[in-house]
Amino acid sequence: MNGRPMVLNDAAQGRFQVNRAALVDPRVLELEQRRIFDKCWVYVGHESEVKAAGDFKTRTVSGRPLIFCRDSGAAVRVYLNSCRHRGALVCREAEGSARGFMCFYHGWSYDLDGRLDGVPGESAYPPSFDKRDYPLIEPPRTESYRGFVFVNFDAGAAPLAEDLAGAREYIDLVVDQSPSGRMEIIRGVQEYEIKANWKLLVENSFDDYHLLTTHSTWLNYLKNAGVEMKRPQKGHLLPAHGVGKALGNGHAVVDNVNFRGRPVAKWIPVYGEEAKTEISRIREELVARLGEERAARVADTNRNLLVFPNLVLNDGSSVTVRTFYPVAADRMRVRAWALGPVEETPAARAVRLDSFLTFYGPGGFATPDDIEALEMVQAGLATWREQPWSIMSRGMAKEGEQLNTDELHLREFWLRWNALMGEPVEP
């Protein structure tokens, strides 16, 4: 690093700057693994992805291969995907349903509850060898909130629900779309790499300042499809009012009045005339269940939520669940899914998925331009020794409400990141 602080926060001078070393230096990445990914609640998956006893998904989370599964009693469990004998993966498939997990190297096998139940030639081990001593290891903590399952590699971490702080309300707003409070991950994962530091996608996921210039072709698409775009009010950049909020512990959100259509429950011409009735029916159900006011929040606001450090729930043109990991200081891997209410009719589900694809994903009309933007940032950051600071002070001089095009929410992420990272390492 360059001997300067990683984050410069000077409220009196109205300066908030991020040291670009944080986005390029491999030593920062190494520290992040220990101080962020080994200390924070990190998203593994959603309960709906494993339904019955034996269902599993394998995922790499915080650099560890994990098995995310249902045990013999159909409880959600997470195991380290590594044999107690020599360490090989005990499950090599991406997903499926299993009666247990076996390491093919020497044949040690484990049941769904993680117990070691088979060791070929067991009699050759000394008498002190006891299979009960070698179950599959679980991360120190596995907890869930409203179906979202997280692990923590720090046994002493605060409980998940407490750590989520103000993010709980925003997760609730997403889950409230479902009459029974049950959402599900829809089949089909988008998994791709971006040649950029992972924190640039944190910023981009709820940076509404970039919408007009990065996504003009998407806005044109909506306009051409008959979506009404109001002229921004004075002091605004976007057609609708929106705010940025810090939710505590590095979690943050942009919360804005929708102008671009929502499968729950705001019709736009892109969805087609035939979807109109269904969307009004969804809205009536929301009002009946939640009352006018909360129904309006669920149906008429778009919310991009960051759950620190690397889970994003974008409740906009559809609901996206997106998580991403550093592969190197200048490269990340992204996984994204669509989330919908379990009760959704096939017709409403089709609208949701179609609406997802107009904006989001590696073949959408917007995400590829985000990817390009982040890669262009990373390329430009090669000048970090000459230009060490990124500027993030929008809205800083203002009292009260912060707009979604201000940067309070980005600062919230960086302040928690900075607090966890501790003292900068001298060069």
Binding site: R187, N224, R333, A338
Partner: protein
């Protein structure tokens, strides 16, 4: 009866149009109800009404995609990627009324400045229809062999 050779000529012509970014002419090869799909890597046979795809365009969105790609503000493809398509193993696997089911293998090499080549490998599944004596594309599905997009990144061009 349409021969495989005629189908091959048609697919080579389509590939040439796409490689040279003559996208309006390419639109002329499509039927009025054409669809263009790129299924998620792990579920090549899925239905986009129930599964999250990479791309699932109807004709309106195909046209909107072309409008977007011709705009210099489509940053991911400006400047345009250079592509080179290899279309092989062309087979007519079904014939019914005026429609042909055609499959082929493809390799699309994609080049961008200061970047290693990206190789998109897979199979096309076409529904071709005879309209007024001409072959048209009613549906083209590009199924990728890669187990995830991974380092291929985005599919911002017409695959």
């Amino acid at each position: 009866m349409i021969s495989r050779e005629q189908v091959e000529d048609f697919l080579y012509h389509e590939a040439a149009l796409l490689d040279s970014w003559r996208l309006d002419e390419w639109l002329g090869l499509l039927t009025e109800d054409a669809r263009y799909w790129v299924p998620p890597n792990e579920s090549p046979d899925a239905d986009p009404a129930a599964t999250l795809f990479i791309i699932a365009d109807d004709i309106q969105r195909i046209r909107a995609r072309v409008t977007r790609l011709k705009d210099s503000d489509a940053h991911a493809e400006y400047p345009h990627s250079r592509t080179r398509r290899m279309i092989t193993n062309v087979r007519i696997v079904g014939r019914a009324a005026a429609e042909l089911q055609v499959v082929s293998n493809f390799v699309v090499y994609r080049f961008r400045r200061e970047e290693r080549v990206r190789e998109y490998v897979g199979a096309y599944r076409y529904t071709l229809r005879q309209v007024g004596g001409e072959l048209k594309i009613a549906k083209r599905v590009a199924v990728l062999d890669a187990l995830e997009l991974g380092t291929l990144g985005s599919v911002s061009f017409i695959l």
